[in-house]
Amino acid sequence: MRLVQGNEAVVWGALASGCNFYAGYPITPATEIMEYMARLLPGRGGVFIQMEDELAALGAVIGAAWGGMRGMTATSGPGFSLMQEHIGYAAMSQTPCVVVDSQRVGPSTGQPTMPAQGDVMQARWGSHGDRPALVVTASSVKEVYDTTRLSFEWAYAYRVPVIILLDAVLSHMRENIELPVLPASAELASPSGDPELPFGSHPFMPFSAATRTIVSGLAHDESGATRGSGIGTANEQILKGAIRQIENDAPRLARCRADRLEDAEWAIVSYGITARTARSAVDLLRADGVRVGLLELHTLWPFPEQIVQALAQRVRGMLMAELNLGQLVLSLRAAAQGMCPVSGLGRADGELFTPEAIAAAMSAEIRQIEVGGRMSHHV
């Protein structure tokens, strides 16, 4: 048992996943990830580079992947905005990598030391064009470790940039957890697949001297060629294939935790640090005899539509609590398809909700729905 900080858990999870390359630029509240990497990577035969900015940081991580290394970077809001260009590039070039965004209050410089969950939509849609997206989050230090491990696995399985959303509280929070023993530095599996077709639906293959590989952010076909008739169609096929692969696997990718939903008439839906507050809110409401439960989302994108739909069919109302002014509630409402009312509770002042505030918002929604229900009954 050890007292571990959230940011430290990212590093242990990454190293356990064979991460051997880190490039970054320091920023509150993500800096400790970089500091631990600087301390640990060189001694394990890995590479650590402090770059000139966040664009360069993710650029280096993408290049490292092409060279056969497992890379990641970490940042916060302002740096995450800068990284959007290269997140698109990683998606276009089908390069596996992991990006941590420890969210603080935005937009712009915002409140550097205060927590937020305002980058949820940016993590999905921040880069231009269409792309497959895998975005995960966590609410405890142990989950940060597990989520980081999963992110490396998924990055390589789907050849995509996987984004881990943390926040200023979780990044700096310490909890006592059991950390598995770190394996000796991992070797990547030897390249496989057709060397002439490095893109499309093929497994990721680091470049080698034996083959000539063209990588481009331009539209390309499976060989990497960017010219010729039919490139637009070929590129669309590649993108569609990548997006479909994640859509098809969405049920497997949809990680979440159901808490006291078995007999629930009402559901709070939340994620990240706010889900912990919501769990305490459920305690308060249950003590008052309210049959409420919590759906805690670990995978944010792809959005777990099927799970939400099944829940919307059997509860009388849902409340989304998040540290922004109304982002993931839009997806929740869309997925609920009007089967039950969905309301949102948000704030962006740098403070966490109190359990009482979430409980009060749920109670208010319940009252409103019950009054509305009686009135429509009389009509």
Binding site: L3, T28, H172, M173, E175, S280
Partner: protein, 186 residues
């Protein structure tokens, strides 16, 4: 008398000015409680506030898994500066214990507020920066928030080698101050 520090979960807030080692003292409390076999969550105020201004570090301790990670109303408060007292002095639970440095003006009138010479003792021992450990020793002696031996182990674990001895001594001195305060008739 109701003693808030006998409850579970136990909410502890350590406060002072940036530079007084408030975050370190939180980590030490959390480590000690972990060694006691409890679940712990430690959160910290960080950034501009941690460099002067009021600074805080919070620890929640429980026999069960902890959901909400922060402290709304402290059951146990340590206060090393006037700024921190102004900000957090009243944000305590009914029956809370507040150990406050006796140089803080205007404090000590409310029930449960114990004024102790934390900074002066640390200064007399040669390093005022160890006032946080004097305070921790006092909290452990008065409220029993962790096993004293685990407190010492935690200090050895988290304090840099060059400052370990001075911090351990400050902790022992704080334990004595706390014990004297428990023994004294109120």
């Amino acid at each position: 008398m109701h003693r808030a520090w006998h409850g579970d979960p136990l909410h502890i807030r350590l406060s002072g000015r940036g530079g007084q080692g408030i975050i370190l003292s939180g980590v030490v409390v959390a480590e000690a409680a972990m060694l006691d076999g409890k679940f712990v969550v430690h959160t910290q105020s960080y950034g501009p506030e941690a460099r002067l201004g009021a600074s805080k570090s919070e620890v929640v301790i429980s026999a069960r898994e902890i959901a909400f990670p922060e402290v709304a109303q402290a059951d146990v408060l340590l206060c090393l500066s006037a700024d921190a007292y102004q900000k957090y002095g009243e944000r305590v639970a009914a029956g809370a214990l507040s150990v406050i440095d006796d140089l803080v003006v205007g404090a000590g009138r409310a029930t449960g507020e114990v004024m102790l010479p934390l900074r002066r003792t640390a200064r007399e021992m040669g390093n005022e920066l160890s006032a946080n450990m004097v305070g921790l020793g006092a909290l452990i002696a008065i409220a029993g928030i962790a096993d004293p031996e685990h407190g010492r182990q935690a200090i050895r674990q988290w304090v840099k080698p060059e400052f370990r001895e001075v911090n351990l001594k400050a902790f022992e001195r704080g334990m004595e101050l706390g014990a004297a305060c428990v023994a004294a008739p109120s």
